[in-house]
């Protein structure tokens, strides 16, 4: 393994404005230095690891991460408040609950059609799909062979990048239905507050009705 390639690798990853796949990185080196370079695909990862420990030792504010199938430089989390101040409001905005829900569904079931999405979510999803397409978090992957030949949707590299994943297999696994069975514990505490309000309101509603009748 040729250690001289460490800086070359560093420069190429640093100059790439999107996550750079290992084979593309190697391709750049091969194109410039010829096919007989000594660097192997497996050694790339090792050199990147070395670079990262260099950064750690010397207190760099960034490191190389593996994301969306490639390498990219990214700042360490501890500087989030400073750097976040610089970036626009848009990048700070979070996805809505419905957007996250729809994305989760598409991520696990891809490729999936709109009718299938709607059947599971129980709500019309036109608006959500067009929003997610706009944000390039999902893409059209073709058409299903079923009646009406509906469009098939899948997630994009932008999706992986947005959630900090290297590949779709890194997604947290949903529980199997059998595992959720009879699981009384269900995560949403925030609903409790609103539940009380609804109840109160229904009671008031009924009370006023009753009063009217009386």
């Amino acid at each position: 393994m040729d250690r001289d390639y460490k800086s070359v690798i560093e420069s190429i990853i640093f100059a790439s404005d999107e996550p750079l796949a290992e084979k593309d990185l190697l391709n750049v080196i091969r194109e410039i230095d010829g096919d007989d370079i000594k660097l192997k695909l497996g050694e790339l990862n090792e050199l990147v690891e070395e670079l990262n420990s260099d950064y750690k030792e010397t207190g760099r504010a960034f490191k190389i991460i593996k994301i969306a199938g490639g390498y990219a430089f990214a700042t360490n989390k501890e500087y989030a408040k400073y750097v976040g101040f610089l970036t626009t409001e848009k990048s700070k905005r979070r996805l809505s609950q419905s957007a996250l829900e729809t994305l989760a569904l598409i991520a696990y079931k891809q490729p999936i059609t709109k009718p299938e999405i709607e059947a599971i979510r129980g709500v019309s999803s036109d608006y959500m799909l067009s929003t997610l397409l706009d944000k390039k978090l999902i893409k059209i992957e073709g058409r299903a062979e079923t009646i009406g030949r509906p469009l098939l949707y899948g997630t994009t590299d932008e999706f992986l990048k947005y959630f900090g994943l290297n590949s779709i297999t890194d997604l947290p696994k949903p529980r199997e239905i059998e595992d959720i069975e009879r699981d009384a514990e269900f995560l949403d505490q925030k609903r409790k507050i609103m539940m009380n309000q609804i109840e109160e309101n229904i009671e008031n509603e009924l009370e006023s009705k009753t009063n009217e009748i009386e």
Binding site: F14, A15, D17, E31, F62, I65, A72, F73, A74, T75, N76, K77, Y79, A80, V83, G84, T87, S91, K92, R94, L95, Q97, S98, L100, E101, L103, A104, L105, Y108, A119, I120, R121, G122, V123, S124, Y162, F163, G164, L165, P172, P174, R175, I177, I180, E181, R182, A184, F186, L187, D188, R191, M194, M195, Q197, I198, N201, I202, E205
Partner: protein
């Protein structure tokens, strides 16, 4: 405020899951009359508050009503002779939905973690050297391209020439050679379209074009394929 809170439900399934959780109901043995009643009350409340009741909720209401009626009738049986629970389909839908709903929590965590990291923002100042092959004269820029670019510049100028005045334009090839060299001095570059975009008179563009060809011949400038289609870049040669 109340309005916003009410709309927190993502849909009818979400609302049903809420009732099931709140009342600690067994999802496999949902008391259908009770839950139908609650569902209807919620819809009624939405109406009272002048919120639009979405079609999805109305559809669910009728599904619940159907199940409620079926519960009162003798059970249907499947091929194996087993009784079919009228709630079976609804239960399956609720479980499936809940599965993905749970995942949204995980996605939200990933999202907020990812919001803490930032990528490099500005790449404009990296030292770059274009690959050899592209530096060869007119690589990928055919004469046809040159002509096209030329014609298009002329066309645009013609479009802007609304008033057809015949006017003598005093311009020489030497002047335009200096004009070009000035734009690309000390290793600078300019796209052909940009070079002539400010020029209104057709004759001046023609002279500029000829001046450019002259400079190429004298090896004072170099032409390269541009990143935008069918335009090309004019480079000043440092030794030129």
């Amino acid at each position: 405020m109340f309005k916003l809170k009410l709309q927190q439900f993502e849909g009818p399934l979400d609302l049903l899951l809420f009732f099931i959780k709140r009342d600690e109901l067994d999802i496999y043995d949902i008391p259908i009359s009770k839950i139908t009643k609650e569902f209807m009350e919620y819809l009624n409340l939405m109406e009272k508050l002048s919120l639009e009741v979405a079609g999805d909720f109305i559809l669910m209401a009728s599904t619940l009503m159907q199940i409620k009626v079926k519960m009162l009738l003798p059970r249907e049986v499947n091929e194996k002779g087993e009784e079919i629970d009228p709630r079976e389909e609804l239960v399956r839908a609720l479980l499936e939905y809940r599965r993905y709903k749970e995942m949204t929590e995980e996605f939200a965590v990933l999202e907020s973690e990812q919001k803490k990291i930032f990528y490099r923002g500005n790449f404009k100042n990296d030292e770059i050297e274009k690959p050899e092959e592209l530096q060869t004269l007119l690589k990928n820029v055919t004469v046809f391209d040159l002509l096209q670019a030329f014609k298009s510049a002329i066309t645009r100028a013609e479009e802007e020439e609304h008033v057809h005045e015949i006017e003598k334009v005093n311009v020489t090839i030497e002047e335009q050679m200096n004009y070009i060299l000035d734009k690309v001095k000390t290793g600078g570059k300019i796209n052909f379209i940009n070079l002539v975009s400010g020029i209104k008179e057709k004759i001046r563009i023609i002279v500029t074009f000829i001046a450019m060809l002259e400079l190429v011949k004298l090896r004072k400038i170099d032409l390269r394929e541009s990143e935008t289609f069918n335009d090309f870049e004019i480079y000043g040669l440092e030794n030129g």
